[in-house]
C-alpha cells in the first residue's frame, strides 16, 4: 500500500506538471469544448421547442459535461500507453516492481482529478452562459460520481490493454467518442437496455440529481445495485482484460514497440 501511495504521489504530480507545461494545450482543449457546447446550445434555441428550452438546456449541460469527462477518462490510459511507447518510456514503466496496472491506475487518478477540475469549470461556464442553474447537491453528486467513475476507469483499462498490443489506436478512439456520446446523451427511459453499458446508470442518476433536484434518499436500492454492480463489473473486467493483454504483449514481445 505504501508503495502504491508513492506511485500515486509521483504520477499525480507528473500529470499536474505536464498540464502546466502544456498549458496552452489544456486551455485550447477547454475552449474547444466550450465552443462545441455553445454550438449545441444555440442549435437547440433555434430548432428546439421554446416551451421546453429551459429543460433541454439543462439536459445538454449535464449530458455534455459527462460526455467530455467520460471521453477524457476513457482515453487517458490508452493515450498514455501510446504516448509512452512513442517516447520510449513505456518499458521503464514495466520495469517497476510495482505492477504496471497499478502505475496506470495512479496515472488515471491524476488525470481524473485534472479533468474533474476542467469539468467543474465547464459546468459553471455553461450555466453562466445559458442562465440555467442546476441543482448542485454536493452530498448527492459526489458518491454517485465516484461510483460512476469506477466503471469509466474499468473501460479505460480495456482500452489500455488494446493499446498495449496495437499501440496505434487513434482511429478506434475517434469512433469511441460517438459511442460515448450515445451513452451520455440517451436517457435510460428511452433505451433501458443501456443500463448494462458502462456509466450510463450513473449519468442517468446524475441527471436526476442535477436537473430534477433528487437527493440520495430519492433513489431505490435497485438504482444503487445497478450503479454499484455496473462499477464493480467494469472495474474487474477492465483489469482482467488489461492484464491478459499485458501478458500477451510480453509473450509476443510487443511491449515498447510502436
Amino acid at each position: 500500500m505504501s508503495a502504491f501511495l508513492q506511485v500515486l504521489r509521483v504520477n499525480t504530480k507528473k500529470e499536474f506538471i505536464e498540464m502546466k507545461r502544456y498549458l496552452p494545450n489544456t486551455l485550447s482543449l477547454l475552449a474547444t469544448f466550450y465552443i462545441i457546447f455553445l454550438a449545441l446550445f444555440f442549435g437547440i434555441q433555434v430548432v428546439g421547442d421554446p416551451a421546453e428550452a429551459s429543460s433541454n438546456t439543462q439536459y445538454i449541460i449535464v449530458n455534455y459535461v459527462f460526455w467530455y469527462f467520460a471521453m477524457m477518462t476513457l482515453q487517458s490510459t490508452g493515450g498514455a500507453i501510446t504516448m509512452e511507447a512513442m517516447r520510449g518510456t513505456l518499458e521503464q514503466l514495466y520495469m517497476s516492481p510495482v505492477s504496471a496496472w497499478r502505475i496506470l491506475l495512479a496515472r488515471v487518478f491524476g488525470m481524473v482529478a485534472i479533468h474533474l477540475s476542467i469539468m467543474i469549470v465547464l459546468i459553471f461556464s455553461s450555466m453562466l452562459t445559458t442562465g440555467e442553474w442546476l441543482h448542485l447537491n454536493v452530498g448527492a453528486i459526489i458518491p454517485i460520481l465516484l461510483l460512476t467513475i469506477i466503471s469509466m476507469i474499468g473501460v479505460s483499462f480495456i482500452i489500455a490493454g488494446i493499446s498495449v498490443i496495437f499501440k496505434q489506436v487513434d482511429a478506434f478512439l475517434q469512433i469511441l467518442q460517438f459511442i460515448l456520446m450515445a451513452f451520455a446523451f440517451v436517457p435510460l427511459s428511452v433505451a433501458p437496455y443501456l443500463v448494462f453499458a458502462p456509466f450510463v446508470k450513473g449519468v442517468d442518476m446524475m441527471r436526476h440529481v442535477m436537473i430534477h433536484g433528487y437527493t440520495l434518499g430519492d433513489f431505490t436500492w435497485v438504482d444503487y445495485s445497478w450503479l454499484v454492480g455496473n462499477g464493480i463489473f467494469y472495474a474487474i473486467v477492465g483489469v482482467i482484460v488489461y492484464r491478459s493483454c499485458e501478458r500477451l504483449a510480453m509473450n509476443k514481445g510487443l511491449l515498447g514497440h510502436y
Binding site: 506511485v7 509521483v10 507528473k14 505536464e18 507545461r21 518510456t89 521503464q92 502505475i103
Partner: protein, 317 residues
Amino acid sequence: METIIEVEGIRKGYKKRKSKEEFIAVDDISFSVRKGEIVGLLGPNGAGKTTTIKSICGLLVPDQGSIKINGYDSVKERNKALRHISAVLEGNRNVYWRLSVEENLEYFSGNRGMRKKESKERIDQLLELFRLEDKRSEIVNNLSRGMQQKLAIAVALMANTDVILLDEPTLGLDVETSYEVRSLLKHIAEQEGKTIIISTHDMAVVQDLCKRTVIINSGKVIADENVQHLLKLFETSAYEIQLKETLTEEQLTKLHHQFPIFNLHDLTLEVSLEHEEAIYQIMNILSLNQTGIETINRTQVNFEQVFRRLVKEEAVS
C-alpha cells in the same frame, strides 16, 4: 563470488507475419553473472541480444528456460526479481523530455515505491556523481545528448538495485562524453559494487570496462570468456602483410580455402593464424605469382578484431 543472474536454456521464437514461419531469436542460451562483475553482452545485429536483454528485464517471456535475478524467477516472481534490476534500454529516450532532471529522478524512483525523503537524498548523491547539480531544474529537452544519456543512467541508479543493464550506453555520444560515461560506469561498479551488464557495439567500451564477455550469434552463445584471456588468445596469431601487387584469383581462392578468416583491403592483407607456422603457407600462396612483400607485422589485437573473428569463425563453421 555469489551468482546474481542465472540464465538457463532460454529459447524464444517469433512467428513471421506473412509466412507464419517461426523465427528463433534465441536458442538455448545459458550464462550466469556473478555479483560485482561487469559483463559485455555482444553480438552482431539480429543475433538475439535484445531478446536476451528484454527477457532478463522481465519484459519478454521466454518460450523455454528460466532467468533468475538474485534467486527470483523473472516470470513467476517478476515483481520480486525487478526489485534487483534496473535498466537503460533506449538511452536518452528512457526519460521524459518535458520534465526537469530532478523531476525525472523523483518520478522514476517514486514509481518503484521509493519515499520522498529517501529519493531526495539519492537524487543529491547522483546529481553530484554525474556532475548535473547545476542542471537540476533544467528541462531534459534543453540538455545535450550526453547529459540526457547521463540522466538516463542516473535514473537507472536511483533505485539502488544490485544489477544495472545498459543497452548501448555510449551510442551517439562524442568521444569525450563517451569516455566520461565509461569512467562513471567504472566508478559505479567499483565504488557501489554494482553488477553491470552492457550490450554494445562499441568494442572500446568492452575492452575498457568489461571483465567478461558473452558473445551471441544466431541466437546462440558462441563465447563466454574473460576479455583479457580472449585478447591473449588471439594476440599471438594476428599478422598484417603489406603487399606490392594485387593478388590473382587463384591466390584468393587458395587463401579462402586455407584461411577462411582474412581481410584484404587494397594491398593490406590481415590474417589470423591458428599457429605461427602457418605463415609459411601464406608465403607459399604469395609465391605462386611472385607477389612481392613490402612488410610483415605482427599486429596488436584489439577487441573488435577478436569479436569479428569469433563471429566469422562461427559463421564459417
